[in-house]
C-alpha cells in the first residue's frame, strides 16, 4: 500500500512556500533557522523559503503576504510555534492574499522541538524533519470551504436555581426564547431555602422571589418543571433536546391555590424543602412563593392512585384540577445553545462514620439550620432542638465536614462554609445572646468583599472559634458530645452540645453524571462539570454550544453564581445572535466507488453522522453532523472513507518522510 503513493499525481505542480520563524532566540537558539530555510528550498514542491525574526509580527506577516503574492504560492508552511497560538493568525494573513485557509500548515518547531531539546545539531535535524512532514501534507491539502448552518435562536437552560434563573432572564431579556427546565416541582433551587445571605444579611427569599416571578411572567420564558433532560442530539446551533416531564397530577391552569386539597389529605410525610424538619401532605405546595404556583401530588405517598382507598383531594377540589391519570410526557425541543446550571448537593454525612448525624440526635446540616432560622420555617424562625423542641443552650458548628480531607473524603475546599457558618453563628447570637456558640474550623477562608469583616463581627459577638476538627461526635443521654483537639493550644476538648450543625462539602448534584452522559460534557475528578479552560473559558465546555455555570462547576457563593449565569447567557447570545455558523470542513468523505456498503463506519460514529443509502448501497456522511475525528476512516476495510486534509495518503507520506534516512 505504501509503495503506490510514491507516484504523485501530475496535477501537483503545487507551489509551496516555507516560512521559518526565529521567534527571537526561542527557536533560533537551538535550531539553525538560516540553514533550514536554505535547505527547505530543495524540498519537493517548495518554490520559496524564507526566514523571519518574528513571523507573527505585523512586518513578519506583511513580508509573508508579499512573498505569497510575488511567488504565486498555493500553500504555505509556517515553521514556528504551536498551532494553538498562531494558526488562525497565519490562516487569516494568507486568506487576505488569496490562499485558502486550509492550505496553511503549521510546523511546530518551538514547543515540540527547540524548547524541549538542547543539542543544536539534533534539534535542527528534527526541525527539518517536522517541516518536511508538513510539506508532504501540504502537497495534498485541498482548498476547503467551511460548511455553513442556520442557527436556531432558541436557548435551553437546565436547572432553575439562582444561576439558571439569571441565565434564563438575561437571555429572555435580550429577546431570545428560553426553555427553562427544572427537575423539581418549583424553581428557586437551594437559594429559596436560605434564610438570609452573607455578608449583608439580605433576606434570601426577598431577593430571589422577584426574579422567580419575573420568570413566571416573562413572555420569552417557557418554564418546564418536574422534568429532566434525557437526551441531546445534533450540534451547536441545532440541538435537539428531549425532556421527560413527570406528571404533577394537578392541572396548573385550573388550580387556584385554595388549599382545600391540603386540608383533607390524610397523608403526612417529612417535607424535603424543610430538610425533613417539618411535615407536609401528599398534595402540597413546595413553599408559598413557589413558581409555578400550583400544588403537586407526591405519587410515592398518595393513596389516591387507588381511588377506592382515598380520593379526598379530588372530591374537595371545586376547580376539578386534580387528575390521577396524568401520564409522563416527552417533549422535544429544538435549541441553538444549552446552558447547564444543575447546582449542588451536600456531601452524604453517613459516609463519615465517626459523626452521628440526624435530627433525632440533634446533629443537622447547614441547610437544615437555615430552615430553623427562617421565619417561614418549621419553627417559625426560633432555633429549637429538633429532638425535643427545646431551646439549645450550647450550639456547636463544625466546618470542613467531608471537605479538605483528601485521604477519606473530598480534597477540595467548599469555599462558602466559613462564611455561612459565621452567618449562622451571628444570627443565632443575635436571636439568643445567652447561647454558647462554638465553631470548629481548620482555617478560616473568607475571601470576598466584606467576608473577613463579617467573620470578625461574629467573633466580636462572642462566638468562640476553636481551631481543630472534631474526631468524634456522638449522643450521650440528651446531649451530643464532641471530641476535639484545639490545635493552637494542644489541649484536648470535650464539648457537651445541645445542637450540632455540620457544614458538609458541596458536591455535584445527584444526576450530574447522567447529565454528563447525555450532553457529552466532561466531568472533573470530583464529578463536577469541567470548563473548557479554567481561566479563559470559565463557562464554556468542550462541547460547542454547551455552557456550564454556577455550582455545577465547583463550589461558589451566590454573587459568583449570578455572575456565571450572566456570563453563560452572554456566551450563548454571542452564538445565537449569528444568523449562520460555520462548521469546520475537516470532515469524513466517502469514495462512492470504493464503498462496499459494509456499514462498519456507521457503528463507530458517536454522532450518528453516517447514514446508509440503500439504493446505492453505500454509506453517506452527513457533513454537518461529522465532527472530524476520523475514527471511521481508520476502520474502513475498503479504504473508501477518509478525512479531508487528513487522508491516509497524507499521513502515510508524512510517516515515510519522517523516517527517511538523512543521506540525500
Amino acid at each position: 500500500m505504501s509503495q503506490k503513493k510514491k507516484t504523485r499525481e501530475p496535477e501537483e505542480a503545487k507551489r509551496l512556500g516555507v516560512f521559518v520563524c526565529h521567534c527571537g532566540k526561542n527557536i533560533a537558539a537551538t535550531v539553525d533557522v538560516e540553514n533550514i530555510a536554505k535547505e527547505a528550498t530543495n524540498l519537493h514542491g517548495v518554490v520559496h523559503a524564507a526566514e523571519s525574526h518574528y513571523l507573527c509580527s505585523e512586518p513578519g506577516q506583511k513580508a509573508l503576504q508579499d512573498d505569497i503574492k510575488y511567488h504565486r504560492l498555493d500553500g504555505i508552511i509556517c515553521a514556528c510555534c504551536s498551532p494553538t497560538l498562531h494558526e488562525e493568525t497565519f490562516r487569516k494573513a494568507a486568506a487576505d492574499v488569496g490562499i485558502n485557509k486550509y492550505e496553511v500548515e503549521i510546523a511546530n518547531i518551538r514547543e515540540k522541538c527547540s524548547w524541549v531539546h538542547s543539542d543544536k545539531e539534533k534539534a535542527t535535524v528534527k526541525a527539518m524533519k517536522i517541516i518536511e512532514t508538513k510539506v508532504e501534507k501540504a502537497l495534498l491539502n485541498e482548498a476547503l470551504t467551511p460548511i455553513s448552518v442556520d442557527v436556531n435562536r432558541n436557548a435551553m437552560v437546565v436547572g432553575a436555581g439562582i444561576t439558571g434563573i439569571q441565565a434564563a432572564l438575561d437571555l429572555a431579556n435580550s429577546g431570545y426564547h428560553v426553555y427553562l427546565v427544572e427537575q423539581s416541582p418549583t424553581i428557586g433551587g437551594h437559594m429559596a431555602q436560605l434564610t438570609s445571605t452573607f455578608p449583608t444579611l439580605d433576606c434570601s427569599q426577598c431577593i430571589l422571589s422577584p426574579k422567580m416571578s419575573e420568570i413566571a411572567h416573562h413572555d420569552n420564558v417557557e418554564l418546564i418543571t418536574n422534568a429532566k433532560l434525557t437526551s441531546v442530539t445534533g450540534f451547536v446551533g441545532n440541538f435537539k433536546a428531549q425532556i421527560t416531564k413527570k406528571p404533577k397530577f394537578v392541572i396548573e391552569e385550573l388550580c387556584n391555590l385554595c388549599d382545600d386539597c391540603v386540608e383533607v389529605c390524610p397523608v403526612i410525610v417529612p417535607n424535603e424543602f424543610e430538610g425533613g424538619l417539618g411535615p407536609r401532605k401528599a398534595i402540597y405546595l413546595p413553599f408559598p412563593q413557589a413558581v409555578p404556583s400550583a400544588y403537586i401530588l407526591d405519587i410515592e405517598n398518595c393513596l389516591g392512585i387507588h381511588p377506592l382507598v382515598c380520593s379526598k383531594c379530588r372530591d374537595a377540589c371545586e376547580q376539578k384540577a386534580i387528575n390521577y391519570d396524568m401520564k409522563e410526557e416527552i417533549v422535544e425541543l429544538n435549541v441553538g445553545a444549552i446552558v447547564i446550571a444543575t447546582g449542588y448537593d451536600l456531601y452524604d454525612i453517613s459516609k463519615i462514620s465517626e459523626y452521628d448525624f440526624g435530627p433525632e440526635v440533634d446533629v443537622i446540616d447547614g441547610l437544615q439550620f437555615e430552615r430553623l432560622l427562617n421565619s417561614a420555617g418549621p419553627t417559625g424562625g426560633a432555633v429549637l432542638r429538633p429532638s425535643d423542641h427545646k431551646k439549645p443552650e450550647t450550639v456547636v458548628f463544625v466546618q470542613c465536614v467531608g471537605s479538605r480531607d483528601p485521604e477519606h473524603h473530598m480534597a477540595y475546599c467548599s469555599k462558602i462554609c466559613c462564611t455561612y457558618t459565621g452567618k449562622h453563628a451571628l444570627l443565632l447570637k443575635d436571636q439568643e445572646p445567652e447561647t454558647e456558640v462554638y465553631v470548629f474550623y481548620i482555617d478560616i477562608r473568607a475571601a470576598g468583599r466584606g467576608y473577613e469583616e463579617f467573620i470578625d463581627r461574629a467573633q466580636e459577638m462572642g462566638v468562640i472559634y476553636i481551631r481543630g476538627k472534631p474526631s468524634k461526635i456522638f449522643r450521650e443521654g440528651d446531649k451530643t458530645i464532641i471530641w476535639a483537639a484545639n490545635t493552637l493550644t494542644g489541649e484536648r476538648l470535650e464539648v457537651e452540645a445541645d445542637l450540632v450543625v455540620l457544614a458538609p462539602a458541596m458536591i455535584p448534584s445527584f444526576d450530574t453524571k447522567i447529565l454528563s452522559g447525555v450532553t457529552k460534557c466532561n466531568l472533573d475528578e470530583y464529578g463536577f462539570f469541567k470548563e473548557a479552560h479554567v481561566k479563559l473559558k470559565p463557562v464554556e465546555s468542550l462541547v460547542q454550544g454547551l455552557f456550564v455555570a454556577g455550582t455545577a462547576l465547583s463550589p461558589k457563593d451566590i454573587p459568583e453564581c449570578v455572575a456565571q449565569g450572566s456570563a453563560a447567557a452572554s456566551k450563548a447570545m454571542a452564538l445565537l445572535s449569528k444568523p449562520q455558523l460555520y462548521h469546520d470542513p475537516i470532515v469524513a468523505i466517502v469514495n462512492e466507488k470504493a464503498c462496499s456498503g459494509c456499514k462498519v463506519c456507521q457503528s463507530l460514529c458517536p454522532y450518528g453522522a453516517i447514514s446508509f443509502d440503500s439504493v446505492k448501497n453505500i454509506s453517506v456522511v452527513k457533513e454537518i453532523l461529522c465532527q472530524g475525528c476520523g475514527t471511521c476512516a481508520s476502520a474502513c476495510p475498503s479504504l473508501a472513507l477518509t478525512l479531508k486534509n487528513q487522508t491516509d495518503k497524507q499521513i502515510e507520506n508524512m510517516i515515510r518522510i519522517a523516517l527517511k534516512t538523512e543521506a540525500k
Binding site: 514547543e111 515540540k112 524541549v116 534516512t661
Partner: protein, 148 residues
C-alpha cells in the same frame, strides 16, 4: 541494564490534537527536556490512527511507535480512544506474529495537563528502544528507498 544496541532509535508518535499534543506543547512551554529521536504526527483523535499507519511506520524503519490519546472517558469525540484501545491490542498481536517485538508499540493516555507524563513516556520509551536491536525492517527500508 543491558548494553546499548541502538544508540539512536527512531520513533514516530501519533498524538491526539486535544490531549497529548497539548501536553507536548506544555512540556515545551515548561522547558522540559526529552530526546530528539521522536517525530510527532498530530491527528484529530487517537481513533484516527489507522492500524496500517503503525505498520507503515515499522515497515518504514521506525524502531518504535507511540500512540497517545485522551484518558478513558475523556475522549473529545466521546469514544474514539476506546476504539484505539481495542485496535492496539490487535496491532500488538499482529506485530508479534510478524516477528516484531510488541515493546516497539506503545499506547499511553496523556491528558493536556500531563506534560511530565508526556516527557516521561517519551524518555522511557526511547531509553527502552536503545536496548533493543534496531528494527530488523530498517534495512528493508533502505533497500526500498534505493529502489525509488
Amino acid at each position: 541494564m543491558s548494553e546499548l544496541l541502538n544508540p539512536e532509535p527512531k520513533v514516530i508518535a501519533f498524538l491526539c490534537k486535544w490531549c497529548s499534543s497539548n501536553a507536548a506543547d506544555l512540556a515545551g512551554v515548561s522547558r522540559m527536556k526529552y530526546p530528539a529521536n521522536v517525530i510527532t504526527i498530530v491527528t484529530p483523535c487517537s481513533g484516527r490512527v489507522d492500524p496500517t499507519y503503525i505498520f507503515d511506520a515499522l515497515a518504514g524503519g521506525a524502531d518504535g511507535v507511540i500512540v497517545a490519546g485522551c484518558h478513558p472517558g475523556e475522549c473529545h469525540y466521546v469514544t474514539g480512544n476506546y476504539k484505539t484501545l481495542k485496535r492496539m491490542v490487535l496491532v500488538k498481536e499482529l506485530a508479534a506474529q510478524m516477528g516484531i517485538e510488541d515493546e516497539r508499540i506503545h499506547l499511553e493516555w496523556i491528558s493536556s495537563s500531563e506534560a511530565k507524563k508526556f516527557v516521561k513516556t517519551m524518555t522511557e520509551f526511547i531509553e527502552k528502544l536503545k536496548h533493543l536491536p534496531p528494527n530488523p525492517l530498517r534495512n528493508n527500508r533502505v533497500a526500498l528507498e534505493a529502489k525509488h
